[in-house]
């Protein structure tokens, strides 16, 4: 068939498992990035809300800078600049990508978690303090458990965004979905179908992952509280 010839469909079939394997790397990027973003974003947000003037200014500066630099620029700055030249460490493309995704995500997660913290009635803080709790105790045992739940939809969004952004790490040669798809297109000499499959794969992973986050959101809800039923 001429059509099959054009799209190189016969060859594509044998390359499909290789493309799908990229999903493992994509998930490693997203998992690593989100974890780092979370680990940085939550303390940043707490500092931004409860910290002193200096801490607030520093966090604002971080968020401003990291929300303005395109991921590709950050990747190259880290991979060719900051780590090898300034810090003198040779990091793998994978590790650099996770660091870039994570430090950038931290800025967005700070915003999300800050909004969650601020959405909690200040009266609760006053009540906790009047019971004799220290400020930190009140934050840790009263405010955080609620804020973490409220922030889940925001993080779900970040997952969807980072999943797609992780494809940009192809620029460093990380073997995620898009990098592999490019190799496949080159070796079979046709482009449309492989890229279409990659795009659909990203859509499926977005919806699948979002479902998982939604299930978690439902599961951890506390009836009667903000975000609860």
């Amino acid at each position: 068939m001429r059509c099959a010839e054009i799209f190189g469909l016969g060859l594509l079939g044998s390359y499909l498992p290789y493309m799908l394997e990229g999903a493992i790397w994509t998930f490693a990027l997203v998992g690593g990035g989100l974890t780092l973003g979370f680990a940085m974003g939550v303390p940043f947000a707490i500092l931004r809300v409860y910290g002193g003037k200096g801490a607030k200014a520093a966090i604002d500066a971080y968020v401003w800078v990291y929300r303005s630099i395109p991921l590709i620029v950050l990747l190259f700055l880290y991979y060719w600049g900051i780590f090898p030249v300034i810090l003198g460490v040779k990091l793998s493309a994978m590790a650099t990508s996770i660091l870039a995704l994570g430090t950038r995500d931290a800025a967005y997660e700070t915003m999300i978690f800050r909004a969650a913290l601020e959405s909690i009635d200040p009266g609760q803080m006053l009540a906790a303090r009047s019971l004799g709790m220290t400020r930190w105790q009140a934050v840790r045992t009263i405010v955080l458990p609620q804020a973490l739940r409220i922030a889940i939809p925001g993080w779900t969004n970040q997952y969807a965004i980072m999943l797609k952004d992780s494809s940009i790490c192809f620029a460093l040669g990380v073997l995620e979905i898009l990098t592999r798809t490019r190799y496949v297109t080159i070796s079979i000499g046709s482009y449309f179908i492989p890229y279409l499959i990659a795009g659909i794969l990203f859509i499926i992973l977005t919806y699948g992952g979002t479902k998982v986050f939604n299930i978690v959101y439902e599961k951890v809800q506390i009836p009667g509280l903000v975000g609860g039923k």
Binding site: F7, S68, S167, I193, Y195, G199
Partner: protein
Amino acid sequence: MVTLEILAISMPISVLLGIALGTARVYGNVIIRGIASAIVITFRGFPVLVTLLLIFFGLSDFGIYVPPFWTAVIGFILCSGSYQSEYVRGAIRSIDIGQSLAARSIGMTKLQEVLYIILPQAVRRAFLGITNELIYLVQYSSLAFVVGVPEMFAVTKTFNSLYFRPVETFTTLAVVYLVMISVLVVFFRGIERRLAIPGIELTTK
């Protein structure tokens, strides 16, 4: 300069596409709604890079050649427009149904109602979301390098491979984006204030 050219064309058109897609998904008939939904789901779901590669390399399977510059422009319009349309759609939905009824009861046609009553409010409500997407678009414009457009990132990359001063070159580029985006944010906030109608709650911050 190429970055600015790409943005100058794709930003305004993407806003128009966003408004059109968002409106179509609320007011269109089954077919129009279906087409608009398909466009939005596809281009919100695909990473920008996949969209660009599909337009540039994918269409070449069919003998269609889209020049790199226009690949970037079309890709960014489709992608950003789809994201923006979600804000427009949400904003239209948030407007009290009573306004539609009132407009129709004073003799406006459906088209008049949407154009003169609903959209002026909806676009203001969606403004913050739309401008956020435009700011992302500035960042994503750096991905046009993938189809060979000589925009800022591509030029910086070439410059770096000539002189190999990665820290200086990429930091400079980062600062350029920082300034560009900061200027844009201030500009958008200015427009937002000008568009505000006293007494009508437009954006929820």
